[in-house]
Amino acid sequence: MGPSSLLVLIMAAVAFSAGGIAIAKILVKGTKNPQKGQPYECGIPTVGKTWIQFNVGYYLFALIFLIFDVELVFLYPWAVVVKQVGWPALIDIGVFLFILFLGFLYAHKKGALKWM
């Protein structure tokens, strides 16, 4: 089957999930009480807002990841043909990776990969 199978799969996933959720919606009558809707935090009312902005060290990783992700994308076509092309391909990618590796080393040295 061709690309249309993707559609079929999406449909199947939606049908499956929606079906399950719908059954519960229809058949199960839950009780209502004011506490039920509140966020669950070990049985204690939440303090302060949840959707605050806060400092996380994650974003530096995401930044660097993005760069490497692009690199990865270029690697795929290369990997397919490397056997046919032979040494020149290795040199090409060697240069490519080397330059990126420099960046990696830089990041490492600057401590960007250290958790903050």
């Binding site: 089957m1 061709g2 199978s5 993707l6 079929v8 799969l9 999406i10 449909m11 199947a12 996933a13 939606v14 049908a15 499956f16 999930s17 929606a18 399950g20 959720i21 059954i23 519960a24 919606k25 058949l27 199960v28 839950g30 039920k36 809707g37 509140q38 966020p39 669950y40 935090e41 070990c42 939440t46 949840t50 959707w51 996380v56 060290g57 994650y58 990783f61 995401a62 990841f65 490497f68 992700d69 990865l72 690697l75 795929y76 990997a79 397919v80 043909v81 490397v82 056997k83 046919q84 032979g86 391909a89 290795l90 060697g94 990776l97 990696f104 490492h108 990969l113 250290k114 958790w115």
Partner: protein, 358 residues
């Protein structure tokens, strides 16, 4: 011979002969849809059961054994119960995204099934960019997790989601690089080609130590990508109660649960395909007799058993190791796995060009 591909072929010819093309096509769609849903359900039930049994035996206990013989209906009961449980949507949450997130995760998991070769010639869509497609689509699920974590309006969820976001994207690199190592060796992205290239032996045997290193990195990285212990920081029970799905209940929770196991299955299937030759029987060079004996075992059995082996490996990890801390987790990726897999990739390239592999 009764093989899956034959059945599929016969069905298709029968459909085409009996109905006009449109109806045949539609009924084919319906059959595929029903089949994948069934597969989903069976996989979910089976893997959860397996996990519980494996855990039980590692932990010197019996595990579920009272619902049905050997407790095999245990997970069925769980599923029915989860379906019949109230699905809550917390008041303070972003209702739309909260309810959307499980769908996103499910769709992502479902889409990845498309290129997987379950048996010889038995694939939903042998897409020509095979493994690239897999790693692309599986990266959608991180959005689902972030969405779930954010929309719940719960601090634990948010923290869990952020952790898993950073974790999944980081480990995607290592997964990608170890996949590329095999692509280098087999020269194609298409899964059927990759399997065909292992006709005379699986890559894990043919590729010397670099491929084994690639395999180790792969299995570590996919464990992390599927949020499994020891990398289960996103839902670290002892830290963040239940992580990003703290607020989910009933079927919505079940979908996350299910998607987790489907994802495990998928990554293990990919691992089995790349390193263990998918449905390819164990062939050794040119031992004709041996190879023929091996061919008698149906290809689907080969595939399933290899995948189950990898799944078992991942479960084994889970029930043995303590959890890493978040900074150690990222350290492991950026300081160890990534540089090693880069160097390893170059090694494999050299090996491929020099034709050092068998």
């Amino acid at each position: 011979m009764w093989s899956l591909s034959n059945i599929a072929g016969i069905t298709q010819t029968w459909l085409n002969a009996t109905f006009n093309p449109t109806i045949a096509l539609w009924s084919e769609f319906v059959i595929v849809g029903v089949l994948v849903i069934a597969l989903f359900a069976v996989l979910g039930l089976g893997l959860v059961y397996m996990e519980r049994k494996v855990a039980a035996h590692i932990q010197i206990r019996l595990g579920p054994n009272r619902v049905g013989p050997m407790g095999i209906f245990q997970t069925t009961a769980d599923t029915v119960k989860l379906i019949m449980k109230e699905g809550l949507t917390p008041d303070g949450s972003d209702h739309f995204l909260f309810n959307l997130a499980p769908f996103v995760v499910m769709i992502a998991a479902m889409l990845v099934l498309a290129p997987i070769a379950f048996a010889k010639n038995f694939q939903i869509w042998d897409i020509n960019i095979g493994v690239l497609y897999v790693s692309a689509v599986s990266s959608i699920s991180v959005i689902g997790i972030l969405m779930a974590g954010w929309a719940s309006n719960n601090k634990y969820s948010l923290l869990g989601a952020m952790r898993s976001g950073a974790q999944i994207v980081s480990y995607e690199l290592s997964v990608g690089l170890s996949i590329i190592s095999i692509v280098v060796l087999s020269g194609s992205l298409q899964l059927s080609d990759i399997i065909a290239s292992q006709q005379d032996g699986w890559w894990i045997f043919k590729g010397h130590i670099p491929v084994i290193i690639a395999f180790v990195i792969f299995i570590i990285a996919v464990t992390a990508e599927t949020n499994r212990a020891p990398f289960d920081l996103a839902e670290a029970e002892s830290e963040l109660t239940a992580g990003f799905h703290t607020e989910y209940s009933g079927m919505k929770f079940a979908l996350f649960f299910l998607a987790e196991y489907i994802n495990i299955f998928i990554v293990c299937a990919i691992g089995a395909t790349l390193f263990f030759g998918g449905w390819m029987p164990l062939h050794i060079g040119n031992w004709q007799g041996f190879n023929q004996v091996m061919d008698y075992i149906p290809s689907s059995v080969w595939f399933i058993s290899k995948t189950l082996f990898l799944i078992f490996l991942i479960m084994w990890f889970r029930w043995t190791f303590p959890r890493l801390r978040i900074d150690q987790l990222l350290n492991l990726e950026w300081k160890y796995l990534l540089p090693i897999s880069m160097v390893n990739l170059l090694l494999i390239t050299v090996m491929a060009i020099m034709k050092w592999h068998f």
